[in-house]
């Protein structure tokens, strides 16, 4: 008998319908350093999406075969959603070239999202690796009035391969864009800090997980904290280890390669440790993308 996670029967829809919308581009801002902010009119999705859920976007003009998953960054008046992403390949490059008024085929809301039922922590610590910051914003919005303290730690280097040969990549990332993003978070009452690997005034020097460690060791607020993290696997793995070491709960939002995004193809498999040592793969698109960090087999990648 398989572990419960493998039983497809457990996976059948949370009951939430998935909409397909021809989403009109309301605003698109290609950002320096190869990033993009894209606002889409998608009322059915915008009205239903919960923090941590994602949309699956067809890159325009048949530029790619499969849809591309994006965590929703912001919603506006239940009519628009905004995505914030880095240009990494065919799909994202094509998406950054759309114009206001264009229609983009998207489906959503998808995935489980953050569990905000039950008792929320006194202190919420949001940890982002690069543009893993995007899907944490709706979480911050939901937590704002329900937690005593909120911290945001952002690391900027890990997924910026070009920064070594071209420092302007890193600077443009840190300066205009993260600053804008941080402003969004600080408006929600989060105390934010940015970690960079290079010495820069006002920034923590090191990995964002070093920054997290320093906080967990040094701050009284850390005692009753819950950690919410999104970013590259290695960064999440270290975050999960830090949380475990301090006995703190930790939810991670995984960004996996996907096929269908709706649960049918089993492409976006995430390996769980399983109880009693019995491993299992679950789908990031249905059972995730948000997982309790303690159940993930972090050595699987």
């Amino acid at each position: 008998m398989g572990s419960p996670q493998m039983d497809a029967s457990k996976h059948v829809a949370s009951g939430q319908p998935v909409y397909r919308e021809p989403a009109r581009v309301v605003a698109v801002s290609p950002l320096p350093g190869g990033h993009c902010r894209l606002r889409l009119r998608a009322p059915s999705i915008a009205a239903a999406v919960k923090p941590g859920q994602f949309v699956n976007v067809s890159p325009p003009l048949d530029s790619a075969l499969l849809r591309r998953p994006f965590g929703v960054y912001r919603t506006f008046e239940q009519t628009d959603i905004e995505l914030l992403f880095k240009l990494v390949g065919r799909g994202t490059l094509a998406l950054a070239k759309v114009r206001v008024g264009d229609e983009i085929d998207i489906i959503g809301p998808l995935g489980n999202g953050f569990d905000l039922s039950g008792k929320l922590p006194d202190t919420a610590v949001l940890v982002a690796g690069g543009f893993g910051i995007a899907p944490l914003h709706p979480l911050a919005l939901a937590l704002r009035d329900n937690v005593a303290r909120m911290f945001l730690f952002v690391g900027t280097e890990e997924d910026l391969p070009l920064e070594i040969s071209d420092s302007s990549m890193r600077l443009s990332f840190v300066d205009p864009e993260v600053t804008v993003a941080l402003t969004d978070f600080e408006a929600l009452g989060a105390t934010s800090r940015v970690a960079t690997l290079r010495e820069r005034p006002g920034f923590f020097r090191g990995l964002v997980t070093d920054l997290l460690e320093e906080f967990l060791h040094g701050s009284e607020a850390a005692a009753n904290a819950k950690i919410y993290a999104c970013g590259p696997w290695a960064m999440l793995k270290r975050t999960a280890a830090a949380a475990a070491e301090h006995g703190l709960p930790c939810d991670v939002l995984l960004e996996e390669r996907m096929g269908c995004g709706i649960g049918a193809c089993m492409s976006c498999a995430v390996r769980l440790k399983g109880k009693g040592g019995e491993a299992a793969y679950v789908r990031a698109c249905v059972e995730g993308p948000v997982f309790d960090a303690a159940v993930i087999d972090w050595d699987a990648k």
Binding site: M6, A13, P17, A64, L65, I262, Y281, A300, K301
Partner: protein, 321 residues
Amino acid sequence: MKPDLRTTIAGIEMASPVVVPSGTFGFGEDFARFSDFSHADIGAIFLKGTTLKPQLGNPPPRVAETPAGMLNSIGLQNPGVDVVVNEILPRLAKSGLDTPLIANVAGETIDEYVAVARRFSEAPNIAAIEVNISCPNVRRGGLAFGAAPEAAFEVIKATRAVTRLPIIAKLTPNTARIVQVARACIDAGADALSLINTLVGMVIDVRSRRPLLGNKTGGLSGPAIKPVAVAKVYEVFDAVGHRVPLIGMGGISNADDAYEFVLAGASAVGIGTALFSNHRAPREVAAGLAVRLEEARFRRLSDAVGAAHNERRWQTTDETA
């Protein structure tokens, strides 16, 4: 007059010739989450490949997009036939789903195929058994049975012996002997053939200098493989004609694609990879296919099946009008 799209595959009457291939549609429930989804647009659902015991599946990454296609390497992850028969199928029955369900049976040994087929035969809502002798993503079984006619014959014959349900053999293009394999399956008692499964492929991540997929190789699907699939359907139809119906698949995303397969010899067509970006593809393809048939003055789908083989094909339209 609107052409008649109904088709009969292995005794199963289908309202639409458009089916969803195994592995692209889970166990039939996921796509139902779409607010506008209707199973009525689908002629039959081929369920996810099922083995005797639960199968963990392959390590990720399991998917990579390639030019006009995708590689997948799921490794037959499934909860095992007991869970499918005892839990999933009853739930599908209770949901009122009346689209024919076709089980896809996989195994490492002939005994395993036989055991799974036997279990599915006890289920009230399975219309046929597709024998998967073509999965490229498992170390044993799968492809090993489908690449050689002798092995294919043995597994189909053994399965035939334990079930009254119609049997469909799913063929692989990863063999030079697809015609011989097709004949062997028919001789062993297969009532229909599905073709093609995916083509073995690999992507190497140039940054890590390692194969990108966790299982190193995967199965290529999508528009990139369509000409290969059309050629295989044409080749097999040429050899076996109307002995058994063919279910053609491989890169179909629109009505013209589907029409090509019909003309090559397919009595039904599968839409898989295209579903991932367009869940309405079955409906759109069926509607478009009806238009194409009408334009060519085919009164029914079956009149067009294999029409590309007609020697005087420039006259085909007039002859069938």
